[in-house]
């Protein structure tokens, strides 16, 4: 065992958390190097001082402050659960959700639902027709351009 290893194990030896082999090795090192015994004693003494140290106590108004904060929390909780047992936020969210569900149901179940698509189809076919008419008009205009006013006069 070298000095570094010895230092690493001081606490283990003081707290008796070493296995027997390591403990014997540690004690052999100490016996061979008695000058290090004081280091072990000093660590042990330091631990003892810490364990016996007086402790800090909270100030007198600590409990009152804590109680005030808890009361505040309780009051907030009460004010937040004053609509049918729900908090205001939850109640608003619930109401909004129900409204959405209701409106969606009305929309999906209304009888004119199928006509909507028919109307759409009509609009599409109308649009198609007007496209075809536009195409024809363009062809006539093109002929006009090629033949001059003669074609259109003739028509």
């Amino acid at each position: 065992m070298d000095y570094n290893k010895f230092q690493d194990r001081i606490s283990d030896w003081i707290e008796n958390t070493m296995d027997i082999r390591d403990r014997k090795e540690f004690e052999k090192f100490l016996a061979e190097n008695p000058e290090y015994q004081s280091e072990v004693d000093l660590v042990r003494n330091t631990i003892d001082i810490m364990k016996a140290a007086p402790s800090l106590s909270t100030t007198k108004d600590f409990d009152k402050k804590l109680q005030d904060r808890i009361n505040l929390l309780r009051n907030n909780d009460k004010s937040q659960t004053d609509i049918l047992g729900f908090s205001k936020q939850n109640f608003a969210f619930l109401t909004l959700s129900l409204l959405c569900i209701f409106m969606l149901s009305v929309y999906l179940l209304q009888p004119s639902q199928s006509n909507y698509f028919v109307v759409d189809e009509d609009v599409d076919s109308q649009e198609l027709n007007s496209d075809e008419e536009d195409k024809k008009l363009k062809e006539v205009e093109l002929l006009n351009d090629v033949n001059g006013s003669f074609v259109s006069d003739k028509d």
């Binding site: 690493d8 283990d12 330091t46 364990k51 007086p54 402790s55 804590l66």
Partner: protein, 189 residues
């Protein structure tokens, strides 16, 4: 004796989870000073340490249901206190100017152990000096030493609270103690 004193911390938190406010009060009573002594080591400022302990106990009130009965209550509450302390430290990196003394230089609490006046005075001086030396060692050593030697928690608990492997904790505590002992040696000389 009041019946609630018979309950373990774990039983008390379970009772509080079921709505027993007396169980909460008992936990506060048991832990407020322990937490203060722990948190104080982060700030070395009593007022700030008390604020953090208050926040920790409020969190205990509001988040009691987060506690699951798989860990020791002390580990859980110390972890909350540590996290609160670190958050506060990040928010406000105040200089560590106060000491364990009140304004008139006396210890806040001497304890009630039956000792001779002389040994008490000697012990006071040693503790006072040790507290000053504690501030001089690295924070990661200091916190581990405080949890072990002031709070007397197990290595396993400290490992869970600080979220560091047990081997590292043991090493930090040992090194912290050696550094403190070294300083105490010079103090005695």
């Amino acid at each position: 004796m009041n019946e609630k004193f018979k309950f373990s911390d774990e039983k008390l938190i379970l009772r509080f989870q079921e709505g027993d406010i007396n169980a909460y009060n008992e936990l506060v009573k048991r832990y407020k000073d322990r937490l203060l002594n722990f948190v104080f080591r982060y700030f070395n400022n009593l007022e700030q340490a008390e604020d953090v302990v208050q926040d920790t106990l409020i969190k205990l009130y509001t988040h009691a249901n987060y506690y699951k009965n798989v860990a020791k209550f002390s580990t859980w509450i110390f972890t909350i206190a540590k996290n609160n302390a670190l958050t506060e430290l990040r928010k406000n990196k105040r200089k560590r100017t106060d000491s364990l003394h009140t304004d008139d230089g006396r210890f806040l609490d001497i304890g009630s152990k039956e000792e001779s006046l002389e040994s008490r005075v000697q012990n006071e001086i040693a503790v006072d000096q040790l507290n000053k030396f504690l501030d001089e060692i690295p924070e990661n050593f200091r916190i581990a030493v405080v949890l072990r030697d002031f709070q007397e928690l197990s290595y396993e608990e400290i490992s869970k609270i600080l979220e560091i492997p047990i081997g590292t904790i043991k090493s930090r505590i040992n090194r912290g103690r050696i550094q403190l002992a070294e300083k105490m040696k010079h103090f005695k000389e």
